[in-house]
């Protein structure tokens, strides 16, 4: 056994889709990387209507090798346990067959394991410490300036020079407009195929309500927000309010990013449940923290253009979109990018136990509408479609053709009459208005 290479990650997704065709959908992502690779994601789920979906991504940073391996193992475990009807056990953390069934049948789990395959390929074959993608567009031909950090390329306060206080830049984690920097944010938000593919998934699956971006290292579960301190007092103080430009990213000042008190309690509770599941495997202690206050010492670490903040921000930018609880997980409590494969196998068990817990938390708890919907489909299949077969009564059946033929004859006669009636009614109505 060994770390997956970029070819194997895609093959694994294809293999899972072909092995479990009734509960998976292989999603071919539309944006090719600069080296011509096409990525895939896998949707896991069954049932006629789903109220919620979870998106799990990894591999954005090339040198953080274990993320895609975690995702592939997680998907394979879920699918195998569901198909066999068994419990799923990770060390001291166990999930019953009923719990696995509830995830698969009442939720969509979408896994995008390798966001940045070009970078991973370069890291695994040439320069292990490579972090960014391999886009040379801003390099001017210099190898040292190749690449964009995908996790600074999302459309959340991407223009950090305008949005953040000058002092926030000094923390060294915000972003950079220098292509030679490891946190170069690109030439525009969503300029990179890697981030466009993530956005595509959100566009295609608007029911996504939970998001996890897997990174390493540290042993941290980070929740919103990552740009500034949280505050629940004033909704008007938020990232969309240009009046606060130039003031974000510093602790203990007037600006704080708005998060509802209930939301904050919920996101922290879900992170703590995940932490407990991870600890149950073999005792690894992950820390739960707001991303701005990444567990460390002495100072905050603001970020611009990060995946978790963009994901959570979408609801505030456009309230017609679902609110997505967003997290970043930094796996591996040992501070190295390169655990041995033997160590990585243990980490995979830890994190996958946490991911199952994360998905269980995302399963809709209030199930009345789900069951009504489910029964409507069942009744449709069992009774209605037998009494009125769609082949006969549907929009392309013979009765529809007859109906359309009758309509085409009657419409030229009836339409002028309807127009006359409508005009008369409007005249009476407007006359009444004038009298008022």
């Amino acid at each position: 056994m060994s770390f997956l290479n970029v070819v194997e990650i895609e093959s694994a997704l294809i293999g899972l889709a072909s092995s479990y065709p009734s509960v998976t959908q292989l999603i071919t992502l539309p944006y090719f990387t600069v080296e011509g690779r096409q990525s895939h994601a896998l949707r896991i789920g069954t049932g006629p209507c789903r109220r919620s979906a979870v998106l799990i991504i990894s591999g954005a940073h090339a040198r953080e090798w274990g993320g895609p391996d975690i995702c592939i193992n997680f998907a394979a475990d879920l699918l195998e346990a569901y198909s066999l009807g068994t419990a799923l056990i990770y060390g001291g953390t166990a999930y019953s067959a009923a719990e696995i069934k509830s995830i698969i049948e009442r939720l969509d789990v979408i896994v995008f394991p390798d966001v940045n395959p070009d970078g991973r390929n370069y890291s695994q074959n040439t320069y292990p410490m490579w972090r960014k993608n391999r886009n040379p567009a801003s390099s001017g031909g210099q190898a040292s300036k190749i690449g964009v950090d995908p996790n600074r390329n999302y459309d959340f306060l991407w223009d950090f020079n305008a949005a953040f206080a000058p002092g926030a830049q000094a923390f060294g984690t915000l972003a950079s407009s220098d292509p030679s920097s490891d946190i170069f944010h690109g030439i525009a938000a969503f300029s990179e195929a890697e981030t466009k593919n993530v956005r595509y998934l959100f566009d295609q699956f608007p029911q996504i309500s939970w998001f996890m971006d897997i990174h390493s290292f540290g042993g941290d579960i980070l929740h919103s927000w990552g740009d500034d301190t949280n505050q629940s007092g004033s909704l008007s103080i938020n990232f969309t309010n240009a009046a606060w430009n130039g003031q974000r990213g510093l602790p203990a000042d007037a600006y704080g990013e708005y998060i509802g008190a209930c939301d904050l309690a919920n996101v922290a509770a879900a992170a703590n449940a995940m932490k407990a599941a991870i600890a149950g495997v073999r005792g690894e202690t992950y820390a739960v923290a707001q991303a701005f206050f990444l567990p460390s010492w002495g100072s905050p670490y603001p970020t611009s253009g990060a995946s978790d903040d963009w994901t959570y921000s979408r609801f505030f930018t456009d309230p017609t979109k679902r609110k997505v609880r967003a997290y970043t997980l930094e796996f591996n409590t040992v501070k190295t990018f390169f655990p041995t494969w033997a160590e990585m196998q243990q980490i995979i068990l830890d994190v996958d136990a946490g991911l199952v817990r994360f998905c269980l938390g995302a399963v809709p708890r209030f199930s009345l509408s789900y069951w009504l919907c489910w029964w409507r489909h069942r009744l449709n299949d069992a009774i209605w479609h037998r009494v009125f077969p769609p082949e006969l009564w549907g929009p392309y059946g013979p009765w529809a053709r007859i109906r359309r033929a009758v309509e085409s004859i009657l419409f030229p006669i009836v339409a002028p009459l309807l127009r006359l009636l409508g005009t008369g009614a409007r005249r009476r109505s407007s006359g009444g208005s004038r009298r008022r």
Binding site: V7, E64, A75, S299, T340, R357
Partner: protein
């Protein structure tokens, strides 16, 4: 051209490019004020999201950064107490030997299996988490 061949070609072209110098784990000792000054003076590779600092018994902190030998010399010249650690690029090269070769899933014809234990039809067993 399939993806395996494309990645092989890409590897050959990448190896011929100028590869960045090796990075070392460097542990810098200091106070929060020291680290604030350090971050203003140098752009450092601190890991994924932010720096990792361990608190020492004497109240000081030790921050882990990844830096070239040249950068470590500059840090020391600027007066910072830097302990040179392992060559993380070299560790990465060692780990490259633990990466899969070819395609163990044969383009999707072999089904992946996860490491989690699937036990019985244990619908009664409840989560311990």
């Amino acid at each position: 051209m399939n993806d395996q061949n494309r990645s092989d070609d890409a590897n050959q072209s990448q190896r011929s490019e100028a590869v960045p110098p090796d990075l070392y784990a460097a542990r810098i000792n200091g106070s929060p004020e020291t680290f604030a000054k350090l971050r203003q003076e140098f752009e450092l590779d601190v890991g994924c999201r932010g720096p990792h600092v361990e608190v020492n018994p004497d109240g000081s902190g030790t921050m882990l950064v990844f830096a070239t030998e040249e950068r470590i010399r500059e840090l020391r010249a600027a007066g910072y107490r830097v302990e040179l650690g392992e060559n993380v690029s070299e560790i990465g090269r060692q780990r490259q030997k633990e990466i899969g070769e070819g395609d163990r899933f044969m383009g999707g014809r072999v089904k992946p299996r996860g490491f989690g234990e699937k036990r019985g039809r244990a619908s009664e067993r409840r989560s311990t988490s």
